[in-house]
């Protein structure tokens, strides 16, 4: 495999409007573009998903006792996985909303699948708090405030109820944002589709889009508004998730650095997941001209920056423990360093603190297998971070008499890998049935790029004349 070099333009190769449409659109319209890889990935994901179904069935039949959770470790894999998935879901909105508002055009080729990733990650995340209640069918009145026949309301002073609102708002706005952004592309697919059913489905979904001036005007307004709405959400959702911990008095949780450190961790994990999906995608479907080395380089830099904030967070946690002079906090920090689960802590430092430092080197950022491996380490590291924060802190508390060791069970692991299956199953269906890259924004980008090149050529000519 020839090493790819860093490019200047955001769209490389000899691309035209038609070739862009065809490269992306045919992934939906032509089933033959999906080779063995797609089927293998979908198959693996489907098997994991079945494992998830079995684990959930067993969980609902038996109750949450099939998990390793105990007293005092009431939160374990359920909340680890919830926070992990919500974190992964963050890159999508960051890419689509914040990068849109700051006019970063390199977002155009990655925003669509990053947003889809966000939706599926939030879907996976949502499984956990619901199942964690043990009886998800009555969770309605535990989670949502409505005038029920019990005269009961959720505890509004608890961050857990803020979390419900943060996550549901995030899911709703993300779905809207994703769908609104899809409309012009759905209309393109409607027009290009050759079979009746495809035309009907895409026609229905494109809501009568004809691409008139009025339509574009309204589209731009709606899209910008939604971007404005979702921008604060990028920061608020994980801030509130961190409040679930930071607002309590559990040793190791009561740290004010939690919100920024959680948000940075979320973006960190999110970009790692974007690359984990984006790298195979561009290789298997010939999208190298759209998701270019420049994109990968920039994403690596974002990971490096957010990774450093996260690493700083780990330092501060230790600093706070000793600076507080609180025996419970200090003993918790030392339990992390030397306790029976200390390998998890040190693995976290290696995965999230040491390995991402490779990305400082430009040569490594261009070495795609290496970038892929770093992203894998980051994903594992972010999971370990939540493991260190959640069960490892809960096991040890103020009262040594109530300390109890926590062991995850097979059901815990099946559910965790099961949601990975759910995520990839949805992701691979998305790749098959919807355009993974924003077609019209790519065409817009190509237009602007060509315009810029023409201008430069003209200027050069003029400079040559004088």
């Amino acid at each position: 495999m020839a090493k790819e070099t860093l490019n200047e333009d955001l769209i490389t190769g000899q691309q035209t409007y038609v070739s862009l449409d065809n490269t992306i659109g045919s992934m939906v319209l032509d089933g033959k573009r999906h080779k063995k890889n797609w089927y293998v990935m979908l198959g693996i994901a489907f098997m994991l998903l079945n494992g998830f179904m079995l684990a959930v069935g067993w969980l609902l039949y038996q109750g949450v006792g099939v998990w390793g959770n105990n007293v005092p470790t009431g939160w374990a894999f359920d909340i680890i996985n919830f926070v992990w998935w919500i974190g992964i879901g963050h890159a999508g909105t960051l890419i689509s909303a914040i990068l849109l508002l700051v006019r970063q055009q390199w977002r155009n080729s990655i925003n669509r699948f990053a947003e889809a990733m966000t939706l599926f990650a939030v879907l996976c995340a949502a499984q956990y708090p619901l199942l964690h209640t043990g009886r998800p069918w009555v969770a309605a009145y535990w989670l949502m405030p409505y005038p029920n026949i019990m005269g009961l309301w959720p505890q509004f002073r608890s961050p857990l109820i803020w979390d419900v609102f943060a996550v549901t708002t995030y899911a709703l706005v993300s779905i809207l944002f994703w769908f609104v952004g899809l409309i012009p592309d759905l209309a393109t697919l409607r027009d290009k589709s050759t079979n009746k059913i495809g035309q009907k489905i895409f026609g229905f979904l494109s809501l009568g889009w004809r691409g008139s001036m009025k339509h574009w005007h309204r589209y731009e307004q709606a899209y910008l508004l939604l971007a404005g709405l979702s921008t604060p959400l990028v920061l608020s959702v994980h801030t509130i998730v961190s409040y679930d911990f930071a607002m309590s008095i559990v040793p190791g949780w009561n740290v004010t650095v939690f919100p920024p450190y959680f948000v940075a961790g979320a973006v960190f994990a999110g970009f790692a997941m974007v690359l984990l999906i984006g790298l195979p995608l561009r290789a298997w479907y010939g999208l190298k001209d759209m998701i270019t080395m420049k994109h990968i380089d920039w994403m690596c830099k974002i990971m490096l920056a957010t990774g450093l904030i996260v690493f700083y967070g780990y330092f501060l946690e230790v600093f706070y423990a000793y600076y507080s002079a609180n025996p419970a906090e200090i003993s918790l920090a030392e339990w992390r360093f030397y306790g029976p689960y200390s390998p998890a802590y040190w693995a976290l430092i290696i995965c999230n603190g040491i390995i991402p430092q490779l990305l400082w080197v430009p040569k490594f950022r261009r070495n795609l297998p290496l970038v892929f491996i770093v992203c894998l380490f980051i994903s594992v590291g972010m999971w370990l971070e939540r493991f260190v924060i959640i069960p490892m802190s809960l096991m040890k508390n103020y009262l040594p008499a109530s300390d109890r060791f926590y062991y995850p069970t097979i059901v815990d692991f099946t559910m965790f890998f099961g949601t990975i299956g759910l995520f990839f199953f949805m992701m691979w269906l998305f790749i098959r049935f919807l355009p993974v890259i924003n077609m019209f924004e790519m065409k817009d980008l190509l237009f602007k790029q060509n315009l810029k090149k023409e201008k430069e050529a003209e200027e050069k000519q003029e400079a040559g004349v004088h």
């Binding site: 026949i149 019990m150 009961l152 409607r190 026609g203």
Partner: protein, 249 residues
């Protein structure tokens, strides 16, 4: 390319937009309404019994005290169902040949209790105690509806938690004592009301409402003040009355 959809699709699209917005409201309101309606709660729906026992006939027309049949209501969590022997204490003497009472006689002969159909029940995770309510002066009819008017017994109230909490959160609105009989204990007050009614004494508006099973608490400042004084006198710990563990242990 021919048109994919007919022109009517535009109208369907618009209509579905409006319906899509209204649907959650309609469904939400509908579910809430059905949950609270007698279709679900069975309030005021008479329940068939093996013997068509009339509370109206026995308590109002004949003037039998509640406790004659519901013997443990003052001292126990359960009010208690009358045994066949209780019925037979009268019906061995009167209406001895009534075909309606055949199941009673059969039960008496065979020693098999009658299976009454339960009208009022709370879920198993609710630990309701009759005695504490009686000994704090809560009249039977406040919860059970106008017992002296019921032919075939029905549920007077839905017993949804929201309903229980109306009193548990503000007991001063419900607690009651007859001002003319201040020496009576709250327990005596409960049953004295029925006797006053039987004797044809003059009743206050509030007493009429209690007997009619339609008393929903009083909001008058004087009544609330009197209620608070009563609560202090009865030793009701208002601050813990709405705690989960009071009813759910």
């Amino acid at each position: 390319m021919p048109q994919i959809f007919k022109p009517a699709a535009n109208y369907i699209a618009r209509a579905s937009l409006i319906l899509g917005l209204l649907a959650p409201l309609i469904i939400g309101y509908g579910v809430a309404a059905i949950t609270r309606s007698p279709a679900n709660t069975k309030v005021q729906v008479p329940i068939n019994q093996p013997i068509p026992f009339s509370h109206q006939h026995h308590t109002w027309e004949l003037g039998i005290d509640c406790r004659y049949c519901h013997t443990s209501v003052e001292v126990s969590a359960e009010a208690g169902f009358p045994s066949t022997e209780t019925c037979m204490s009268c019906h061995s003497q009167i209406w001895t040949n009534s075909p309606l009472l055949e199941p009673i006689r059969k039960s008496f002969e065979t020693g098999t209790p009658i299976k009454w159909n339960k009208v009022n029940k709370v879920p198993e995770f609710v630990y309701f105690n009759h005695s504490i309510h009686i000994t704090r002066g809560i009249n039977c009819n406040t919860c059970h509806g106008p017992m002296q008017q019921q032919h075939i017994t029905y549920k007077g109230n839905a017993f949804q938690m929201q309903w229980c909490l109306q009193c548990h959160r503000a007991p001063e609105r419900y607690v009651y004592a007859d001002e003319k009989n201040p020496h009576m204990s709250p327990r005596q007050q409960v049953f004295n009301l029925y006797w006053k009614y039987q004797a044809g004494d003059e009743l206050t508006a509030r007493e009429h409402k209690i007997l009619g099973g339609e008393y929903g608490g009083s909001d008058g400042a004087d009544e609330k003040k009197a209620g608070k004084e009563l609560l202090a006198k009865y030793g009701v710990k208002v601050q813990q009355l709405a705690d989960c563990a009071v009813c759910h242990h």
